[in-house]
């Protein structure tokens, strides 16, 4: 699986366009061009077509084309002048993240992912109380009741129903008659097509009211007295019926995408969902399925956690890791002028460009990236899974899948560029601590 050969035809391509990481894509290429593609969703098609349509890119220094060496030289100068560098974006593969952490340790950088807000909603629940989760294959074969919270899971993870929630075949009989309950801001629009022929029940509710509804569900399950007519939780009787079904289920799954919950204190909503799953396990079986992983947010957090001991929003400025979900938010560090240099890493999508800001910046970006304001240095990098091999975590943070190489047009991997930058700093004796560890 792992070599430097280009796969011209393969039937098991892993797609890194969302956290589902479908690995059944059939892709045919011809001398670096995309010839045919099967099994991918619309998102996947857009991902591959965009990447394959972007070629012939050279680095830019202040908008002027340059060689990679010159771009590295200039990046090293800018980084050397910085006393409080920020490394953000961090949409890259495992080896890209490994190289970034090594460089960050050397120059005292602060690290955050572009999806930091969404990731932290889940991570803070793990840090505060833990949770009981499950994985795709488990849900696919075992779940008899799935509670989808919010309304964007299918939009964000397009093949969720086909791959996980309702496959054609399951190992256990109990999963064949499974029911889907949709709790969230489902308006009067018809349900997504893949749900229409399934056994679904919709309980419409605004996002802002989900927290109260989940609290009521927990109270119902615990047998505490509740007022079913409270107007703020919508359909009280519907929730009561849902509570009974959750208790009666053999294996219920509670699924959400934290990115959708863009509202104040949504970590408390997620904590409610996590506690709901935990409490159901007192009598029956249940587990949570938090969906994430898009833009490598799970990948970069996993590597950061094993190497530094903390997930992202961690700073190495003092020479050791310090984690602070509030202080180290990349948007705030830029806005408050608390950083004096930005390394923006975004290798998966042309749209995830850095925010316009006054900081001297180096961008290791997708070859099709468009900028509102050009950074000091732009180094187009290879797309993991297209230009180079790599590893990528899907949503459940258990399975890291291999990404293949589909073309060779000279775009370097993030890991390669960062290592060059690191070497340049070292040869300039500009690492904070010096020594062999640099």
């Amino acid at each position: 699986m792992w070599n430097n050969k280009i796969d011209q035809t393969t039937h098991t391509v892993t797609c890194p366009s969302c956290g589902l990481s479908c690995d059944d894509l059939q892709i045919e290429t011809n001398n670096g061009h995309l010839k045919s593609m099967r099994n991918g969703c619309d998102k996947a098609h857009a991902f591959y077509q965009t990447a394959f349509s972007n070629i012939d890119k050279s680095p830019l220094i202040d908008g002027t084309p340059s060689s990679l060496d010159e771009a590295i030289e200039r990046s090293a100068e800018l980084l050397q002048e910085s006393s409080s560098p920020l490394f953000a974006g961090l949409a890259t593969d495992v080896n890209g993240m490994r190289s970034i952490l090594s460089l960050a340790d050397c120059c005292g950088a602060t690290l955050d992912h572009m999806n930091g807000d969404a990731s932290l909603r889940n991570l803070r629940v793990v840090q505060d109380s833990g949770w009981f989760t499950t994985t795709f294959t488990e849900v696919r074969n075992r779940a008899d009741l799935i509670l989808l919270v919010g309304s964007q899971c299918m939009e964000r993870f397009p093949r969720l129903v086909e791959r996980v929630l309702h496959p054609t075949e399951t190992l256990l009989d109990q999963a064949r008659e499974r029911k889907l309950v949709l709790l969230g801001p489902w308006g009067s629009d018809p349900l997504p097509e893949e749900l229409t022929h399934l056994n679904t029940l919709t309980i419409p509710l605004d996002l802002e009211r989900l927290g109260d509804a989940v609290a009521m569900l927990r109270a119902l399950i615990a047998g505490r007295p509740v007022d079913l007519d409270r107007p703020d939780v919508g359909d009280g009787d519907g929730l009561k019926a849902l509570a009974s079904e959750l208790k009666a289920a053999k294996y219920s799954v509670i699924c959400w995408s934290a990115a959708e919950f863009d509202l104040p204190h949504s970590d408390l909503l997620i904590q409610g969902l996590a506690e709901l799953a935990k409490e159901l396990n007192n009598e029956s079986r249940s587990a949570a399925l938090p969906l994430a992983g898009t833009q490598a947010d799970i990948t970069s957090n996993q590597v950061c956690t094993w190497q530094l001991g903390y997930p992202l929003r961690t700073s190495l400025q003092r020479g050791y890791p310090q984690h602070d979900p509030h202080l180290n938010r990349w948007q705030d560090l830029i806005e408050r002028n608390e950083s004096d240099f930005l390394l923006w890493v975004s290798s998966l999508s042309p749209d995830a460009s850095p925010p316009p800001c006054d900081l001297p910046g180096v961008v290791l970006g997708h070859p099709g990236m468009a900028f509102e304001a050009l950074p000091a240095v732009y180094i187009p990098v290879g797309v993991p899974g297209i230009d180079h091999q790599g590893h990528w975590y899907r949503s459940d943070a258990v399975c890291s899948l291999p990404l293949g190489k589909l073309r060779e047009i000279g775009l370097p991997a993030v890991s390669h560029v960062v290592r060059l930058l690191h070497q340049k700093l070292r040869s300039n004796s500009a690492c904070l601590h010096g020594g062999a560890a640099c």
Binding site: Q127, N141, T305, Y320, Q389, H433
Partner: protein
């Protein structure tokens, strides 16, 4: 490069050397016989009065994989309280119970350890386990793949599959996951918990597959025996932590039908139900059983008092134990129709009756099992305690008066119920060298390490002689890894990276078709993306494999 270690007292049990004064020669990465007088020795270390052993080997330590990362994520306080700043030679990190990978590697090397084995590699998570271990510098690593709760194997057994089919599946798993052994955790129990079963004793019937844990242990231990895999089935037995579970442990030993079997962290499986609190030590029964059964080996999983975190594949037990979580947070996970995991932080307190008795039970087991070749020094890091407590544990084993002083401080009811004060045994340096070097190498089939004869890898630890073994073992004078000097006076002097140790028993590749069909029908990963190749290990994951031979006398 030829170096000479001159005049140290050598403890090398694999070669029956018990504290004799002698010289060792190292050429490049290997130990060699005394060279001819004409050869130039590039460096001589004068080690009169020092003690030399092979590099230590930990055969059961949770250092890599998803559940360790869950522990790190859940416990930022463990990092915050144990900061490790960057130095000129070493990367920053931190953590005590769940250290960062880099910190774990540095700390192990600084205690003279040169090889460590992660005992619970979930096949679906094997890449991560190897990636974390690749980022654990200084030491060689390896893993045991978890089977025996995967729906595929349970279905095979339930359908009456031939032993040969199971053998092929086991061998394929070792290859696909790049592991050196097979572990079963709470046989069938993790799977039964997914069907809402809360206990599954050795002869209980699984609610869905209608098979027993005994059958799973029998089939898997036979598979490893017939495949000539050196390490016997590594078993975390049924009913972990449950009073009275020593009977399950004895039944599990017998489930191997006389074939080799390793029972891990057996302290947690040696509990009786006597006394007012219905919790007592059954260490004597277990030790007697081990002494009588030559096919059984154990590691202890000693607990130490203080804060740690328990990390286990045993979702059934961990879920039951979450009521003891300290601080009060816990995570469990059902994983990929393979197994699961549970992470529960825990503080063992010396004044707590149960914890104090657990401490005493572990020591009783160490002292009552006669053969040091069949009992291994572990704390089941971090479940009983972090691995950094090994020097303290060694002192407890070597120094009876120290042991009795601490016994006097624990919960008095636990102290008075324990046999510990009556146990006279004190481990010798030779026996410590057996249980931390020679024996783990032998039981893992690693003929290239754990000893100091010519031809061995030059993994060598030099200690200052010290009256207090804790101080001696905490801070070696020198540590060599594959001939390179990596630690001086207990501090890293040269960062290096290790390799991954694996075995490759032969199998009928036809099994892949059968597994492939199962994957296509039920799995969310395709089979070609599941297996890890040697190239991927070396170039992508960053830890090349080193293949160890299977036993020659394949039955």
């Amino acid at each position: 490069m030829l170096i000479k270690l001159e005049g140290a007292r050598i403890y090398d049990p694999a070669n029956n050397i018990n504290g004799e004064i002698g010289d060792l020669y190292v050429r490049d990465n290997m130990i060699v016989a005394k060279p001819s007088d004409s050869e130039t020795i590039h460096k001589t270390y004068a080690l009169a009065g020092k003690i030399v052993m092979a590099g230590a080997i930990d055969l059961h330590t949770h250092i890599g994989g998803g559940k360790v990362n869950i522990a790190r994520t859940m416990l930022p306080e463990d990092q915050r309280d144990n900061v490790m700043p960057r130095t000129e030679l070493t990367r920053s990190g931190g953590g005590h119970a769940a250290p960062s990978t880099l910190t774990a590697g540095y700390r192990y090397a600084e205690m003279g350890y040169t090889s460590c084995f992660e005992p619970a590699v979930l096949p679906a998570n094997a890449r991560q386990a190897h990636m974390e271990m690749a980022d654990t510098p200084m030491i060689d690593t390896g893993g045991y793949a978890m089977l025996g709760n995967d729906d595929l194997l349970l279905q095979l057994i339930a359908e009456g599959a031939e032993q040969q089919t199971i053998n092929d599946y086991v061998a394929w798993t070792l290859q696909a996951t790049q592991c050196i052994g097979i572990k079963v955790v709470n046989p069938g129990g993790i799977n039964a918990f997914k069907f809402n079963q809360r206990a599954l004793d050795v002869d209980d019937t699984h609610p869905h597959y209608q098979i027993t844990p005994r059958e799973i242990v029998t089939k898997l231990s036979r598979a490893l025996h017939e495949l000539a895999v050196p390490h016997p089935l590594h078993v975390h037995a049924s009913n972990l932590g449950v009073p009275g579970n020593y009977l399950s442990t004895l039944a599990t030993m017998d489930a191997a039908d006389g074939l080799p079997i390793h029972l891990t962290h057996i302290q947690f499986h040696s509990y009786g139900t006597e006394g007012d609190r219905k919790f007592s030590s059954s260490a004597a029964e277990i030790a007697e059983a081990v002494n009588k059964r030559a096919n059984v080996s154990i590691d202890v999983g000693q607990i130490m008092f203080g804060q740690t975190v328990t990390i286990s594949g045993d979702t059934m037990s961990q879920h039951a134990n979450h009521i003891h979580a300290h601080p009060n947070k816990w995570t469990c996970m059902d994983i990929e129709c393979e197994a699961g995991c549970g992470v529960v932080p825990f503080r063992y307190r010396d004044k707590n009756f149960v914890n104090a008795l657990q401490w005493a039970i572990g020591l009783e087991l160490f002292l009552m099992v006669d053969d040091p070749w069949r009992v291994f020094l572990t704390t089941d890091h971090p479940n009983g305690a972090p691995f950094t407590s090994y020097p303290h544990l060694i002192r407890l084993l070597m120094d009876r008066s120290f042991r009795n002083d601490l016994l006097a401080e624990i919960n008095p009811d636990a102290g008075s119920l324990s046999h510990l004060s009556s146990l006279q045994r004190e481990y010798s340096l030779y026996e410590i060298a057996v249980m931390t070097r020679a024996a783990p190498a032998r039981i893992l089939g690693l003929s290239d390490r754990g000893h100091l004869a010519p031809g061995a890898l030059a993994d060598i630890t030099v200690y200052h002689q010290h009256e207090d073994p804790q101080q001696m073992f905490a801070k070696p004078m020198l540590v060599f890894k594959a001939g390179e000097l990596i630690v001086e006076e207990g501090r890293i002097s040269k960062p290096v990276n290790g390799t991954t140790q694996v075995v490759r028993p032969e199998y009928d590749p036809g099994i892949e078709k059968q597994i492939g069909r199962w994957f296509e029908r039920y799995h969310t990963i395709s089979l070609p993306n599941f297996a890890i190749s040697d190239d991927e290990m070396a170039e992508g994951i960053g830890s090349p494999v080193s293949v160890h031979p299977c036993r020659e006398n394949r039955p």
